[in-house]
């Protein structure tokens, strides 16, 4: 019963009328004109919906949230964009999570909702235009319906709070118009969007849309999915990098009450890509989680070392430093001017090395997946960041057509980049195939810390030259790291991608520049960790600027401002480009300095530290006031100033900056994944101690710049400048310069 759709349109809106007479509007991107919107999917109980907007005849409005909610707030902020243009009151809106929207079109695979993945802080920039257009189109249809009803020109009508209003004051609710609106052809072009002065939802502090479900325990995360007849699986994976199972005695495990089966899962060979499961191991299947865990504990196994038996963090650090010392065969990342000449003619030279450890993601909800495989179809329920990747993987592993793979998205208990990988989905597929039953795969915390795609390990050697006026004339940034590109399936990346950013500050701002990368071989799987690259890149760069300032007796804020120079756009090839606006970075830095009282004299033993960074289209500066007592860092103040363009949800953006700051502080102070004899040494939170409330800043003062620039994402920009600002503050308080993360062990060693 869907309305006719103009096939000539390059990009069109899908409109349909559900069985119960609700208007449904969504955006589609390819020419899927032959594909009717599956209104029959909808049912009447709202458990499954197709498009973005559903208006019930009783004027209730349901808006679908398309992206993976991993804590970045998109289940609230994206529906706000739709509701704004639809012109309803937020209080009328009920938000539901949309499932994965794979569709096949004559141009190939597409998604009826657009991009649903969570990564790179792209949900808001991606949705900014198209989701507002979806809302505007729904509103347009409703206005047309009212125009027909009253026999008035549509231009004479206005809307407010879910009603269409005639010049004489007559009103029709959207609900009353839904049925007739659904019979109207959508406009050839998206209707005009509101001007910012007309916004009544965008820019207003809005609480988490499904907060009530969260605080009453009704929210469903991936781990909360159950399936009739499913067995619970827990795996014992080889703890040795690329090691293999040598001997297995599962007789005791099989005698544990509730254990149903024990099966082998082969890991990838050391020269194969990490295209599916990550490690060699054994899966125990049981009636419930506890029986599976007990069964796993009862396994008797021995492992064989792989090719990385000698890998250790100390050896990696030694290798990285050796490569930097030898300075041969580096990959040139960006080189300008003549750094050697700059060194010879300089008045001042400063250099320092920084070491950053592997990090695990440690999402509060460990990875896991519930999967049912049938002959020609599959169902996956899991906490995901890349549902498209999961769909591809399941199809590749089973031969099931992607259109027959039903992926239900849930709230995810954190993501931070861990769930961009779908290795846990692959394991669930393998196990389900082997046992011929639906399987719920559970990961425990030791699984999670020992089998992650870790933030790369690296040593960054920075040096700068300054002339007699103390202007920075040359900058070199040599990075020796375990490259992020490692055993990827068909991905083309440059070897330094993910470790050294060519255009990061101060590239383009100094005449002589040399950025060079050296590969440190490692068997550790590597991945993306919240604000990837930038979370360690900024630590080295922004700590180093502080060191330059101190070594040459300059003010650390003034030096940064001077290096940034006149406000201008400089080309930026990294994610969040194409430009880096030096003026916006200088602005957040200046505000931050002002808020912390940078220029005030102090004699209280507290130290101030500051840093700033641009990435992913956003600009941020952090400042901390700390003291160090009894071997602990005490936070007196924490400030985060961010310019993320126009802010969709100030309350949510503030939460991201506050949380990003604390997350960064947590990692910087305490967290490291280390390797010894080819084995990750951390096993649970006691040896991977996320920050506790007592250790965290009591508050983070967040200031969002009032900007009319295009919105950027907020999930990651709160991270990068926090760690260097903290290290700079600790130096100011103690004169101890921490150049190796995590801070606390180093600080205790050096104090």
């Amino acid at each position: 019963m869907s309305a006719a759709i103009d096939r000539s349109r390059r990009r069109f809106l899908a409109v349909a009328l559900s069985a119960s007479g609700a208007l449904l509007v969504g955006v589609r991107f390819a020419r899927g004109a032959d594909e009717d919107l599956p209104a029959e999917l909808l049912g009447d109980d709202l458990t499954e919906v197709g498009p973005f907007v559903r208006i019930e005849r009783d004027n209730r409005v349901v808006i679908g949230a398309r992206a993976c909610e991993i804590g970045q707030g998109v289940m609230t902020s994206l529906p706000m964009l739709i509701a704004e243009e639809l012109d309803v009151d937020w209080s009328q809106v009920r938000v539901i999570q949309l499932p994965y929207g794979y569709i096949e079109t004559d141009k190939g695979p597409s998604n009826r909702y657009g991009d649903q993945g969570a990564g790179g802080s792209t949900n808001i920039p991606d949705g900014w235009k198209e989701l507002r257009e979806a809302g505007a189109t729904a509103r347009w249809l409703l206005v047309q319906a009212a125009a027909q009803e009253w026999n008035l020109p549509a231009e004479k009508l206005r809307t407010e709070s879910g009603q269409v209003i005639a010049p004489d004051g007559r009103k029709l609710t959207y609900g009353a118009l839904a049925r007739s609106a659904a019979a109207i052809d959508p406009p050839a072009e998206p209707p005009p969007l509101k001007t910012p002065e007309q916004f009544h939802i965008i820019g207003k502090p809005t609480r988490v849309a499904d907060a009530r479900d969260i605080v009453t325990g009704r929210s469903r995360f991936g781990i909360d999915a159950y399936f009739a007849g499913a067995l619970t699986a827990v795996m014992l994976r080889c703890p040795l990098l690329d090691g293999t199972l040598d001997t297995l005695d599962d007789s005791e495990a099989r005698r544990v009450a509730g254990v149903r089966d024990v099966i082998r899962i082969q890991g990838p060979k050391p020269d194969e890509p990490f295209a599916a499961q990550l490690a060699d191991g054994v899966a125990v299947l049981a009636d419930n989680t506890w029986a599976a865990i007990k069964g796993r504990d009862a396994l008797k196994v021995t492992w064989k070392q792989g090719p990385w038996a000698k890998e250790s963090t100390s050896a990696l650090a030694a290798k990285a430093n050796e490569l930097l010392d030898r300075n041969e065969d580096g990959v040139v990342v960006r080189r300008e001017g003549d750094m050697d000449k700059a060194r010879k003619t300089s008045r001042y030279r400063v250099q320092a090395r920084y070491e950053m450890p592997f990090l695990a993601h440690a999402t509060m909800e460990p990875p896991g997946a519930l999967i049912e495989l049938k002959q020609d179809s599959a169902l996956l329920i899991a906490s995901l960041q890349s549902p498209g990747g999961a769909s591809e993987m399941i199809s590749r592993m089973t031969g099931i057509a992607r259109s027959a793979i039903d992926i239900r998205m849930t709230r995810a208990g954190g993501g931070f980049g861990r769930r961009l990988e779908n290795d846990f989905v692959a394991e669930a597929v393998l196990i389900a195939k082997a046992v011929g039953k639906p399987v719920k795969l559970m990961w425990t915390r030791d699984d999670d810390l020992q089998h992650d795609f870790y933030r790369p390990f690296g040593v960054h050697a920075l040096s700068a030259t300054l002339d007699r006026h103390k202007h920075v004339t040359g900058w070199s940034h040599y990075c020796a790291a375990t490259p992020r590109p490692y055993r990827e399936n068909g991905r083309k990346r440059r070897i330094f991608d993910g470790c050294l950013e060519p255009d990061d500050f101060p590239a383009g701002l100094v005449a002589n520049l040399d950025k060079t990368f050296f590969s440190v071989p490692s068997g550790m799987p590597r991945g993306w960790w919240r604000a990837p690259i930038h979370n360690f890149h900024a630590f080295s760069v922004q700590s180093f600027v502080d060191e330059i300032a101190i070594a040459t007796k300059q003010d650390a804020v003034k030096l940064r401002l001077e290096m940034l120079g006149e406000p201008r756009l400089i080309p930026y090839s990294g994610h969040g480009g194409p430009n880096f606006d030096t003026g916006r970075l200088a602005n957040v830095l200046s505000i931050c300095a002002d808020k912390i009282g940078w220029n005030a004299k102090r004699d209280d033993g507290h130290g101030l530290g500051i840093a700033c960074h641009f990435t992913f289209g956003g600009y941020a500066a952090h400042a901390f006031e700390v003291s160090v007592a009894r071997g602990e860092v005490i936070f007196h103040r924490a400030i985060c100033v961010a310019d993320i363009g126009r802010v969709v949800n100030p309350l949510g953006a503030e939460a991201q900056m506050m949380g990003g700051t604390i997350d960064a502080v947590s990692a910087a102070l305490h967290l490291a994944i280390t390797v010894k004899d080819g084995e990750v040494q951390q096993k649970n939170f006691p040896d991977y101690p996320l920050l506790k409330m007592a250790q965290a800043p009591q508050s983070v003062e967040v200031h969002l710049v009032d900007s009319t620039a295009e919105p950027s994402g907020a999930g990651e920009i709160g991270v990068p400048s926090a760690a260097p600002a903290l290290a700079n503050a600790i130096h100011a308080a103690t004169t101890v310069r921490v150049r190796k993360l995590p801070i606390m062990p180093e600080l205790k060693r050096m104090l």
Binding site: V215, L240, W290, T363, R445, A655, K683, F685, A696
Partner: protein
């Protein structure tokens, strides 16, 4: 070479060798239940896998993160470390049992202060806050700092504000 030490409680007597244990009686959110399975099963898995009360979360299995915190006879307890044989005979309240028609003041404060981000740890945080306010109706910052539940999203400052807000609401309702 096996690298998974001290992960869980010591192994129970081999169940295949023992007679089926008598069912254990437990009260959850005011309703009586029986557990006829492994008496060493932690309460967490009984709540989740058996009763499908999934608001109580699994995070670490070693009592370190607090995602599994429930009230046992009104006091906060890590349900991942509490075997059913020890939980039996006690009154358990989970996040699902806090509210009937109206929310508990702590739940309401959590909404008002917009605490949750990913939301996963929040049930445990709310239960820990209720336990704290039971003992310290006017908590100081130091009192709040005793809550050791982990949150990787970094919601701690808003948790602090929500606890203070709930404390005020609970004081006001007593007057």
């Amino acid at each position: 070479m096996q690298s998974q030490p001290e992960r869980h409680a010591p192994a129970a007597p081999k169940p295949h060798a023992a007679a089926p244990p008598a069912p254990l009686a437990i009260t959850v959110n005011g309703k009586p239940y029986e557990h006829g399975g492994d008496p060493t099963m932690p309460l967490l898995w009984f709540l989740r896998d058996t009763l499908r009360l999934t608001g109580t979360k699994f995070g670490c299995g070693v009592g370190a993160c607090g995602a599994c915190t429930v009230l046992v006879d009104g006091k906060a307890a890590r349900s991942c470390l509490l075997p059913m044989q020890n939980a039996a005979g006690h009154q358990v309240t989970t996040i699902e049992g806090l509210a009937d028609d109206s929310l508990h003041p702590v739940q309401q404060a959590w909404i008002d202060e917009d605490v949750p981000q990913c939301g996963y740890c929040q049930a445990g945080q709310i239960i820990a806050a209720i336990d704290l306010l039971e003992r310290k109706p006017k908590p100081s910052d130091e009192d709040i700092s005793t809550i050791s539940n982990l949150c990787r999203c970094g919601t701690y400052p808003r948790i602090r504000r929500a606890i203070q807000r709930a404390a005020e609401a609970m004081q006001a309702s007593k007057k």
